[in-house]
């Protein structure tokens, strides 16, 4: 079994790399801990505590600055927490091998997701559907890169919500933030501007992880001496990573993302098929 210092260091490195690439710290920490001998379900359950920590820590400034769309977040959280509860119940019920295989499949899917060509739409050119308009899903934020206030409207709220339920299920089942999926849904379905999408996704991750963690606390899978060092290491690592992010070249970050997602998928596949988890 691993040591406390090892868990902190692994989580610190994973939080750092996960934050740099946008893959998320938990997607890297869980396979590493499983590789070190931690049972997969315990690693997943305990990891959700670090997802809450990184989400609340990194969201606070975006929320204060008004970049995050709080109303859209609250609407979408109805769907993500439902998905997360269902996903966590699934992990409690199915075999560890099935969980590890699903983890591997999701990492491969997130690799493919980056291949999907997204055509960014001008925030002002989005035509709202009736339901999104009725909900009043719109907003504005100050964009320092263009030096002005950017107004935007969201559309396809219902379809976006349903897709977010699936992203929530992935997050709850696998103990990850599933940020790559959430951001993709925000931008392709809801037509959310990138900055709003990233910050709103960050906020939603915390509430989604709370729903999953609620299930794990009551199912005997949460391990205190694993959850606490993981949360501490991942939060510090992601804080360091986000500071370095602006200095890194996009092409290097993209390569790193591919390498990490492929490594995470391979580790879980190896544990599931060769070692039986």
């Amino acid at each position: 079994m691993v040591g406390v210092i090892e868990v902190i260091l692994v989580s610190l490195a994973a939080g750092f790399l996960g934050s740099l690439t946008g893959l998320g710290g938990a997607s890297v920490t869980i396979p590493l801990l499983v590789l070190l001998g931690v049972p997969v379900k315990h690693a997943i359950a305990s990891s959700l505590i670090s997802v809450i920590a990184t989400s609340t820590g990194s969201s606070s400034s975006f929320v204060t600055e008004g970049v995050t769309n709080l109303r859209a977040a609250m609407f979408l959280e109805c769907f993500t927490i439902t998905g997360a509860i269902a996903g966590a119940f699934l992990t409690v019920t199915v075999s560890p091998t099935a969980v590890a295989l699903t983890f591997s499949a999701v990492m491969i899917a997130s690799l493919l997701l980056t291949r999907v060509v997204r055509s960014p739409q001008e925030p002002g050119s989005v035509k709202q559907d009736k339901f999104s308009s009725w909900l009043g899903l719109e907003g504005s934020y100050f964009d320092p890169s263009v030096g002005k206030e950017v107004s935007y409207k969201l559309t396809n709220a219902l379809y976006g919500g349903l897709a977010m339920a699936w992203a929530g299920a992935v997050a709850g089942m696998l103990g990850i933030g599933a940020g790559a999926f959430k951001v993709a849904i925000h931008e392709t379905v809801l037509k959310m501007p990138t900055k709003v999408s990233t910050s709103t996704s960050n906020l939603i991750m915390g509430m989604t992880a709370l729903a999953g963690a609620g299930v794990y606390v009551a199912s005997g899978l949460m391990v205190l001496d694993l959850a606490a060092p993981m949360a501490l290491g991942t939060t510090l690592g992601s804080a360091l990573g986000s500071r370095l992010l602006t200095r890194m070249r996009d092409v290097n970050l993209r390569r790193l993302y591919f390498a990490l997602a492929a490594a995470s998928a391979s580790v879980m596949l190896y544990r599931a098929l060769v070692l039986g988890v």
Partner: protein, 120 residues
């Protein structure tokens, strides 16, 4: 004060407080039990709900466990408090659609965190 500012401060304070409690708990753990992480009965949360988990914080069995439990509980209560504060804010502003949506989130989370799970 704007809702955004209140929630931003709440999340920052919740994160700092919980990480500080966990860091203290880990330090004591290290001193009392050594380096090894053990996925054993002593450290696995055996509560039937989050509420029961919170109620068990003071029971120990050691100060390091108390601190780690308090850190985890504080962290889990942070997004929950965000939903409750948002609910009060939307209701006070008579934004009924979002009061209903936020009410749904708070109700679902409250049921999940407070109702005990059925024994397996």
């Amino acid at each position: 004060m704007r809702l955004e500012r209140v929630l931003g401060l709440l999340m920052l304070a919740g994160t700092i407080a919980s990480l500080a409690l966990m860091a203290l708990g880990i330090s004591l753990y290290f001193l009392q039990h050594g380096e090894e992480v053990s996925v054993s009965e002593r450290w696995v949360v055996r509560s039937r709900s989050f509420l029961e988990f919170v109620a068990s914080i003071g029971e120990g069995p050691s100060l390091s466990v108390v601190l780690m439990k308090a850190g985890v509980a504080t962290l889990m209560l942070t997004p929950y408090s965000r939903a409750v504060i948002s609910l009060v804010y939307f209701a006070a502003r008579r934004e009924w659609k979002f009061t209903a949506i936020t009410g749904l989130v708070v109700t679902a989370l409250s049921a999940l965190l407070m109702l005990p799970a059925a024994p397996s």
